[in-house]
């Protein structure tokens, strides 16, 4: 290090200016626990463990890119999207107000498909088989326990609500002589649809129906080219609520990856939100060919497995289309949908492993009281140091001021965030910075008591205190580095703050205090008394 007094002062001044300007430019980033916001950890959802490590890792890279695009477009200031480990992603959104919407935006797969709506007639022959498979898979008792009334004819009363009364349980009735076959767990839940290619299922029956449909035996028993999809909305008919179940062609003729652009707008005619989209060349040609062949048929727009809308094909449709949102949607939902469609679909489902949100008011309270406490604490240190060490105490306080600006500047320069535990780290390092000064001053006093000349005493004091300061700082630094390695989130913040604090305290005690002492001693003779 620079030895001349001028050089020392210059170095300190440069470092302080550098720190303060970095602090001014970058501001001190506050952790979500202090500032408010949302922190979530997502993992690739793979309950069966079918994905190889490599596949997961590749997927998570893709996921990271897509989520980043979505969030950037959503417009959050200073978001963090970071891959951790092999298959996890951390998303941090400071100051977010509507966490439900943000979560939806991140987690939504946004897998868009266009599928042909088939006639319910195509499913009819398979219904008996489906029922039998469910009973075989789950056993009679659990089937009975699941449904409120699983006997086919039980729905007749309700079915009359729908005029033609053609309950799909009819097919079960045909085999009424077979007692065991009367158990129709699935078909008994189905009512005639209000729409081409749909059934209706009462909302309270939807969970049971979903359990049945999730059975592998059920999936195998479906006709090969047919798949069932739920409508994404609940509809009300005559005081009851239902969800539509669509019978769709299994293969999608166009998918979301052929999308070029999507924009949310309000339909001028019905004042309902909608998303208009534009397909790329390949998608546009396929769409045009397909719709030309299917004029008069219905096409389902399926988002993440649920049918968003199912318009009729009036004419050949080119590269542009519209997704009409239901009456209950608002324009923000349409905007979010357009956004996730533009950003692209996630290649895999994500599961939230950890979620932390801190409201903005709590954050503000913490910042205010933390600042006040910090200022009072530092003032107390100033009073104690000056009261106990007089002029030397003043020198230590100046060194401490340099220390504080170095730490804050260092934190902002490294882009570290200050968290609640980080404040703990800061206090520990302030304690150590003060301690280093105390060690030196006590040593100088001892040397003075032993009768050494002032200048010798100061030199000896610094020299003797050195080993204790070095050892104490290095052991603490060891702990900080290990914490950084093992810690996550807040503990990491603690480790970073502590490390920067220790390095700064080391420098401030041994170099800055020394320099101030040299300035203090500059005008004195070797034997003049000092105030310590």
């Amino acid at each position: 290090m620079i030895k001349s007094l001028r050089g020392r002062i210059a170095l300190i001044v440069i470092l302080v200016i550098f720190s303060l300007s970095s602090l001014y430019r970058n501001q001190l980033k506050l952790g979500l626990d202090l500032q408010g916001g949302m922190h979530i950890v997502l993992e690739v959802d793979d309950p069966e463990g079918t994905l190889s490590d490599e596949a997961r890792s590749q997927m998570i890279d893709q996921v990271e890119r897509i989520i980043r695009t979505r969030i950037d477009e959503f417009g959050v200031e200073e978001p963090l999207v970071q891959k951790v480990g092999r298959d996890r992603i951390i998303v941090e959104l400071p100051g977010i107000e509507d966490e439900g919407r943000a979560k939806e935006l991140i987690q939504q797969s946004a897998f868009l498909e266009f599928k042909l709506v088939r006639s319910v007639q195509d499913l009819e022959p398979a219904l008996r088989r489906l029922d039998r498979q469910i009973v075989a898979a789950l056993g009679e008792d659990s089937v009975r326990a699941l449904g409120r009334a699983v006997e086919g004819p039980a729905n007749d009363v309700l079915a009359e609500l729908f005029g033609d009364g053609a309950v799909q349980g009819d097919s079960a009735n045909a085999d009424a002589e077979d007692q065991a076959a009367a158990l129709a767990p699935f078909t008994s839940l189905l009512f005639d649809g209000d729409y081409e290619g749909t059934y209706l299922v009462a909302v309270q029956d939807v969970p049971a129906a979903k359990i049945f449909m999730a059975l592998p035996q059920f999936q195998r028993a479906l006709p090969r080219d047919i798949q069932l999809h739920w409508d994404w909305e609940v509809i009300g008919i005559a005081a009851s609520t239902y969800r539509r179940l669509f019978v769709l062609e299994d293969d999608a003729f166009v998918t979301g990856d052929m999308l070029e652009n999507a924009v949310a707008q309000r339909n001028p005619q019905f004042n309902r939100p909608e998303v208009t989209f534009q397909l790329n060349r390949v998608g546009g040609r396929r769409f045009a060919d397909f719709t030309a062949q299917h004029v008069g048929d219905y096409i389902a727009i399926v988002l993440d497995g649920e049918v968003v809308s199912a318009p009729v094909v009036n004419d050949r449709i080119g590269a542009n289309g519209v997704i009409e949102m239901g009456a209950s949607s608002d324009i923000a939902e349409a905007a979010d949908l357009a956004l996730v469609l533009r950003a692209g679909a996630l290649p895999v489902k994500l599961r939230i492993m950890e979620e932390r949100t801190v409201g903005p008011s709590l954050g503000q309270d913490s910042i205010d009281s933390g600042k006040l406490a910090g200022i009072i604490g530092l003032l107390l240190v100033v009073v104690i140091m000056i009261g106990y060490y007089h002029v030397a105490g003043v020198l230590a306080v100046f060194a401490l001021a340099v220390y504080v600006s170095l730490v804050l500047g260092g934190l902002s320069a490294f882009g570290a965030t200050l968290t609640l535990p980080g404040i703990g780290g800061l206090i520990l390092s302030i304690g150590m910075a003060v301690d280093a000064n105390v060690l030196i001053f006590e040593r100088i006093r001892e040397e003075l008591i032993l009768g050494r000349a002032t200048r010798t005493a100061v030199d000896e004091g610094f020299a003797h205190a050195l080993s204790a300061i070095v050892d104490a700082n290095i052991t603490t630094l060891i702990t900080a580095v290990i914490l950084f390695q093992f810690g996550t989130g807040p503990v990491r913040g603690f480790a970073v703050t502590l490390s920067i604090g220790i390095i700064a305290s080391f420098f401030s005690a041994l170099y800055v205090t020394r320099t101030f002492f040299l300035i203090y001693l500059a005008g004195k003779k070797a034997s003049d008394p000092i105030s310590i």
């Binding site: 008011s361 050892d471 900080a480 503990v491």
Partner: protein, 319 residues
């Protein structure tokens, strides 16, 4: 002004008494931990960070009681509700029932909205941690402690002597045990910041211990240091560093106390642990680490002395 100038307190002489004190405090803490195992099922009141679960902090605009909240959340089936800080603020701790961690917290929010209406309360903090993450955090925290112990031991063994490292680790374990006992006694919630607080204590205590040991080392290396009575030498070292020990502890406590009184409710638990740690850390560097150094020496001999003894023995046989 100088406190404890030329102090000559017989710290080492009194070590039996302080051993007893430490033993009693640790035993009481252990008793609380065992009591906790039987009454709440684990040594400590682990927070959602380690067990997995949902922590939901709600602030109401209007006077609300915990009983009202309990009624809104399913009466006798309601998850545990405790009040927090100000009057109309509560913490609800719910177990996770689903794989998706946010389901429970969303459910609680809906139930509260149904009972109290929207706009009268704010969920100021919500933390949901899946059980896998919780288990991982627990493992990582334990590993971090283990590694920092080992590396500290190695560093001190190199810079001082092996016995200094062992004595420092003993003092650190002593501090951690007392802190854990304290946490268990008051059933303070163990969260990630608590781990950081415990590690801060470890850092502080080590710092304090090293300053005393540094003086011991210096006195040992001084002319004739090895020939002095070890306990007298250690006692002198403690007394010599006493002014520094007291002053440093005072300033650190001053900062912590200001944080405790004006730092706000969020940081208060954290600060309490740190204050306790500073007191214990100061105590242990004088009454645990230094005597431990002597005990190790008395039982196993210090390395230089045993070398001396060997030399003497060898010369004896030669004669």
């Amino acid at each position: 002004m100088r406190f404890f100038d030329q102090a000559k307190y017989p710290f080492i002489e009194k070590r039996r008494a302080t051993y007893m004190l430490s033993a009693i405090v640790i035993a009481v803490g252990m008793a609380f931990m065992i009591y906790n195992v039987f009454s709440i099922g684990s040594w400590q009141n682990y927070g959602v960070d380690f067990t997995g679960g949902s922590f939901i902090q709600v602030r109401f605009d209007q006077p609300t009681t915990a009983a009202q909240l309990r009624a809104a959340l399913g009466g006798p089936d309601a998850p545990p509700i405790t009040s927090f800080g100000d009057q109309n603020e509560f913490v609800i701790r719910a177990e996770l029932t689903d794989e998706e961690v946010s389901v429970v917290a969303d459910g609680v929010r809906r139930q509260l909205e149904a009972a109290f209406g929207t706009g009268v309360f704010e969920i100021v903090r919500q933390e949901s941690v899946g059980p896998t993450i919780g288990a991982e955090l627990q493992q990582k925290a334990a590993l971090a402690m283990l590694f920092s112990f080992t590396l500290t031991l190695i560093y001190l063994a190199i810079r001082f002597e092996f016995r200094f490292g062992v004595a420092a680790v003993i003092a650190t374990i002593h501090d951690i045990l007392i802190t854990l006992g304290f946490l268990a006694a008051f059933r303070m919630e163990i969260a990630l910041p608590t781990v950081a607080a415990i590690l801060t204590i470890v850092g502080y205590s080590l710092n304090d211990t090293i300053v005393v040991f540094d003086r011991v080392r210096e006195n040992l290396l001084a002319k004739g240091g090895r020939r002095q009575d070890p306990s007298e030498l250690v006692n002198r070292s403690i007394n010599q560093t006493l002014p520094r020990t007291v002053l440093t502890s005072t300033t650190t406590l001053a900062v912590l106390l200001s944080l405790f009184f004006v730092g706000g409710a969020v940081i208060r638990d954290f600060t309490v642990v740190l204050i306790l740690g500073v007191v214990i850390g100061t105590y242990s560097s004088i009454f645990v680490a230094s005597p431990a150094l002597l005990e190790i020496q008395a039982r196993f001999g210090d390395s230089s002395q045993s070398a001396d003894r060997k030399k003497r023995r060898r010369s004896a046989t030669a004669a």
